[in-house]
């Protein structure tokens, strides 16, 4: 077999904390990294949180230096608003096709001044704020976005609707032509003719770090869909000082500050009948943290957490749980049978098996710890890469104990939530571990052979 030197470049798919760590670790060693992120900015879910457990660090504060490092690093090429479309070849010589989605904004001209998104009339639910507020059609997802230059969401852009209307030669009222962004842009960066492009790259190894999403609230049919029944990420945005309510915990329905908040663990998790059988690992800790942060914001408020078990295994975690209890969090051991609205309140019907009581609470707000699922789109990407997953859609390691980050395709590794539910320290550790695997591969500069050999007789 001819040996050809490996391309001295790695690909990291996913710009959340695991992907960022992997990219930085590889790049710091001198190898080149291509980091591809499908949303307009790197950062991932961690940036949506108010404060992280157990230290109560501000995630925006600790992440943005890393994000800037990624954008400035001489060895890292950052492609945001881009997706991996296909892959050919094998370890050492993967040929990857990446779709760079058209932003309709020329980032070589744009200075990120913000004039466009301040004037844009288009509106849709903000992904960064988990639907709690809206954003404009031309937008950066959050103030610290990297790159801090906007994209135009074509589905919600008025001018695009206008163009589609004209092109389809429909009857009826013509939608407004808009183009306000174009008019206010001082450097003429709006480029309606920009198209999607395909970028082809050759890389030696790939790290998949595409993260997770939360199960939809509607999956648990006995809990009402209601503006004041929110998931963990939505509550983070309400707690966050940089969030839509500037850290004043206002409930979505009427803006009032909730005085009684109920948190419900295991919504969809540990539920083989109606959800997923596994434990989502992070909810016990983030509910405890959210309870503590809520009490800081609303000192006279009361918090209840319904739980089955408390899983607090990381460093400082158990102590944090006890701190929360000491600061007034009431833990009720039992699941909740129903959540429904009654006038101004949300009725929560649950149980406390420790005292043998059924418990009913007239809450102002309810936070549901929805199950962690592989991120939307992971299934499609993993099929394209040809990597095996477990029955729940998380990437399967080659060996449960000894090769958790090596996928079924040699040269492709996984890190972070894409491999399974985990907290931030573990995601970062896996990012570095995957980077280590990539660096070992690139340093070896030749494929390693599988130990099994077939003999044809």
């Amino acid at each position: 077999m001819e040996k050809s030197a490996f391309t001295q470049k790695a690909l990291v798919i996913g710009g959340g904390i695991a992907g960022i760590q992997a990219a930085l670790d590889i790049a710091d060693t001198g190898y080149r990294v291509l980091l591809v992120e499908r949303t307009p900015s790197i950062g991932g879910h961690m940036l949506q949180y108010a404060e992280v457990f157990p230290t109560l660090d501000c995630p925006q504060c600790i992440m943005t230096p890393k994000m800037v490092e990624v954008s400035q690093h001489p060895n890292i090429t950052l492609l945001t608003y881009a997706e991996v479309k296909s892959i050919h070849g094998s370890t050492g010589h993967f040929r990857v096709e990446i779709l760079q989605k058209s932003r309709k904004v020329d980032h070589t001209k744009c200075t990120g001044c913000g004039a466009c998104w301040q004037k844009c009339p288009g509106r849709t639910a903000s992904e960064y704020n988990a639907g709690v507020t809206e954003r404009t059609a031309i937008y950066i997802p959050f103030p610290q976005a990297v790159p801090a230059k906007p994209v135009i969401d074509l589905q919600h852009c008025r001018y695009i609707h206008y163009r589609e209307f004209i092109e389809s030669k429909q009857d009826g009222k013509k939608p407004p032509e808009c183009r306000i962004c174009e008019r206010v842009c001082p450097v003429g960066a709006i480029d309606w003719d920009q198209t999607d492009t395909i970028i082809t790259e050759e890389v030696a190894a790939i790290v998949v770090a595409t993260g997770f999403d939360l199960m939809e609230i509607g999956n648990i049919t006995e809990y009402a869909i209601d503006p004041d029944v929110v998931n963990g990420i939505q509550f983070e945005r309400l707690l966050s000082p940089g969030g839509p309510t500037a850290g004043v915990v206002k409930r979505p329905s009427d803006g009032k500050i909730p005085q009684e908040v109920v948190f419900i663990s295991c919504c969809g998790s540990r539920d083989p009948e109606h959800g997923v059988p596994y434990c989502s690992r992070v909810c016990c800790m983030y509910l405890a943290k959210q309870a503590v942060l809520y009490k800081h914001a609303v000192p006279d408020g009361q918090v209840y957490i319904f739980y089955i078990d408390i899983r607090s295994t990381g460093k400082g975690y158990e102590q944090f749980i006890q701190r929360g209890i000491g600061e007034g969090t009431i833990y009720l051991r039992g699941k909740v049978s129903r959540v429904y609205r009654e006038g101004e309140k949300i009725k929560v019907v649950g149980a406390d098996t420790l005292s043998g009581q059924r418990v009913e609470i007239a809450a102002d707000m309810v936070v549901l710890a929805m199950a962690v699922l592989p991120a939307q789109g992971n299934g499609t990407l993993f099929s394209r890469l040809g990597i095996a997953t477990d029955t729940h859609g998380f990437v399967q390691g080659n060996h449960h104990k000894f090769a958790p980050l090596e996928t079924s395709v040699p040269g492709i590794f996984v890190a972070g939530m894409a491999q399974g539910p985990k907290d931030i320290p573990d995601a970062v550790a896996q990012g570095s571990a995957a980077a280590g695997k990539v660096l070992a591969l690139m340093a070896r500069n030749e494929p390693s052979l599988q130990p099994s050999v077939g003999i044809l007789s």
Binding site: V336, S337, G356
Partner: protein, 136 residues
Amino acid sequence: MARIELSSAKLKKDFIKKIAEISGQNIYECYQCGKCSAGCPMCFAMDILPSQVIRLAQLGLEDEIKASKTIWLCASCLTCDARCPKGVDLSRVMEAMRLLTLRKSKNHLEPSQMARPEVADLPQIALVSSFRKFTG
């Protein structure tokens, strides 16, 4: 409150085996989350929670179950079965526990001893279903 003594002999009791056979349920699948108790419509009248009944069964505590009213207040509404995250059909476990008494010819409801005025207005559906449930 007296201490209960657990041993493998106690946990291999006939009672636990019979409950499993009659109900077709593995009562050890229950992880005591209490969702059944939370949603039970008759729980307000019960002395011990439905989830506590299955806990007592897990520990082989037959007498404590027999001393309580809970299994006889069950309306077989199947809400517990519908909501249990582990797929344990508690309504079948309740039925099995009732049958352990009923099958010994000990009726919970004695039709012959029901006073006429009490039952005069009851429709057949109520009489037939309660006799089916509470007589052996």
